[in-house]
């Protein structure tokens, strides 16, 4: 699959995980990497260019840290502007139909926070539901999100594991070595699930 990574992080100077993940993704061949905050620091998104990019790829990866249970502001702006009626949805808006969407997120809260009985009272995929429904309305297949919990309080090993698993995930998806059927059965997945989901 031709992969487009849309990376949204407003405070990259403070990022511990996402910037390292992005650096890995950037160097991959056959993966188009876009740092949205770098390209549109004044939030004036070039809609035509973004739509063209979408059409040139099969899998759209949204990589971002979860802020207040949602995407960073610029990624929301991107959705508002780029996913136009007549392009992404509506009777004639079938340009994205058949593509795949994958959210790769990090959260500050722990896995136990994101639970029915945890502090956030919902699992993480429920907070990502707007994105899921957006993709669905556009006729895309929304894959279960690739999640890293407690991103600010990780020990070094777990952090490195996640950072290194990200390019492996992307290459597997690119080379069609990723078990889509298997992943569809999961609510979400993390770096520890990757070994089972990769085929050779």
């Amino acid at each position: 699959m031709r992969i487009l990574v849309l990376f949204a992080h407003p405070a990259q100077r403070k990022s511990s995980i996402n910037v390292a993940m992005a650096a890995n993704a950037k160097s991959l061949e056959g993966v188009t990497f876009v740092d949205l905050y770098s390209e549109y620091p004044r939030f004036s998104i070039d809609v035509d260019r973004e739509q063209r990019r979408l059409m040139e790829h099969d899998l759209i990866v949204f990589q971002f840290p979860v802020f207040w249970y949602s995407t960073p502001a610029l990624l929301k702006q991107w959705q508002d502007l780029v996913l136009e009626y007549g392009f992404a949805y509506g009777p004639n808006g079938k340009m994205l139909a058949g593509k795949h969407a994958l959210a790769c997120v990090t959260t500050g809260g722990s896995r136990s926070d994101y639970a029915e009985d945890g502090g956030n009272r919902r699992v993480v995929e429920q907070f990502l539901y707007p994105l899921e429904q957006t993709a669905t309305l556009c006729g895309m297949e929304y894959l279960p999100p690739f999640v890293l919990f407690s991103a600010n309080h990780l020990d070094d090993d777990s952090a490195q594991q996640h950072i290194h698993s990200y390019p492996r995930l992307l290459t597997a998806l690119r080379d069609d070595r990723f078990d889509l059927t298997g992943v569809r059965l999961l609510p979400s997945f993390g770096s520890s699930d990757l070994i089972e989901l990769m085929r050779d």
Partner: protein, 634 residues
Amino acid sequence: MEGLAFYALYYLAAAVLAVIVSQRIGLGSVVGYIAAGVLIGPVFQISVAGSGYLEQFSEFGIVMMLFLIGLEIDPDMVWRLRDKLIGLGGLQVVATIAAVAAAGVGLGLSWQQSLLFGFVAALSSTAIVLQTLEEKGLLRSDGGQASFAVLLFQDLAVIPMLACIPLIAGSGHASSSGHGGAALLADLPGWASAILTLAAVGVVVAAAHFLSRPVFRTIALLGLREVFTAAALLVVVGITVLMSAVGLSPALGAFLGGVVLANSEFKHELQNDIEPFKGLLLGLFFMTIGAKIDPETLLANWITVVAATLGLIAVKALVLFPLAWFFRVRGPAGWLFAFGLAQAGEFGFVLLTIAGDRGLLSPSIVSVSVLVITFSMVLTPLLFALSNRIVVMLERRGRHHRDADQPEKGTIILAGVGRFGQIVNRMLLANGHKPVVLDYRADVVDNVRKFGVKSFFGDAGRPDLLESAGLAHAALLIVAIDDKDRATEIVAYARRSNPGIQIIVRAYDRLHHYKLVDAGADHIIREVFDGSVQAAGIALESLGMHPYEVEKRKTVFIDQDTAGLARMATLVDGDVPAANNPEFIAGFNDIGKVIENAMMGYRSGYDEMVARGWNAPDAASIHVPRSAGPDRPS
């Protein structure tokens, strides 16, 4: 020493007094200097030797002025003005010479004398006109540019005129008294002196081109400021001596020297060094003209003098006005041009002196002619005022006929469509607003008219023009002119005349910003601030900072700087200079502390302001057990 101090005392005192009075009445500094000359005329006559000495000395003023004009000559501008320079200037000179020479022959003068008077009449006063145009801020207007082109041509035309005098006078008539260094040529036949004259010009050009640079560079390397000043003066004095030796106008040589040095890297140093000398010596020159007004000659010939002066002005204006029309310098620019150049000039004195020396004119004719030139020069400010009056009158009358040009209520007035106003205008037009545009360049105004914008030609600083643009009923005034004092005046006037209007104004710098606050501006835009911040931002980006981080840092910088500026503006007292205002100084130390500190290396405050938001919580879990919800981002 005592004698020198005596002259200096009279000169400076009379100059200061008369110029202040003359400026206050609105006649300009030139008339002030001439009046001062009349006042101290008796003092000059105490010692005839002293008078001649002073006169020679003061002619350096003109030499220096032409040197500076030469330095300012920009090849691009000359090229742009080539039609006017050669066409308008050439026709003006030829037509005036023809008209005056014909009149002279008609009045019974010899053809040589008539031709000489034609020469004298064809020249206008570069010194007075340029100074007046500059003072009135009209030098870059259409009329001003046309005037400049014609003056430039006239200054150049002096070379052949000077070369012609020996030819028309004939060497046999040369008076033995001689004029200083011109004696060198006095015994030569006409054609030989003409060749020698051209050779001297060649020497000046060649020396300025090949010799000046290595010399200036050597002096600049010494790092001695006063030696450089001395060298700059040496250039002017050297040219003067050489030119005088061959009987040519030193002013012209200086002008050529200036042109040759115009693209040298020492141009600005030369300008700064010569400028103050020029101002004072030019003042002295005008004073010597004033001192030349001899009451006895005047009383004996007053009818001739008055008639000749008015005749001269009439002939010149009658030649200038149709020519201006023909060269598309019309309307207000045409009036300014025709009346502004209607006087005779300082080169006339030079021509008359040489003609007197060559025996072409009798001493009494020379002194009467000097009076005529002087009076026509003295009348120049009145002529400028007259052209202004005519323009205002015509505008008023014109408005009754053109109802369509009546401004409507709620209009936007844009004063100035130069580099700054042009962008404002384009953006307003692109968004469906059509401002009333004021500018003093007709081509700009015409350009803007193409887009259906109501545009008025003229100086936006003139209250009547602002009023006719609809100031009383306008909702918004944008002042985008580059003259800061004028901008402040416009703001103050507009605020008084229409208290409810919104005023947006372009500020030159911080101090101008404070003045504009005082004048009553609502929004003040520092003209280069935003562009500079953009450049700094791109610099940070080029150094590897993330574009969004750059964006935030720019925003905080602008906010801090603007807030500091706004705080300072309340402390500024319009009447007390900023440097003498203790509150201001204290405040200045306080403003932009964040930025100042960051500049000193204590960046924590700045970083903190930039970095607010998106901070990770310190605790691994932010959830207080049993609490209703989170208080930090997930």
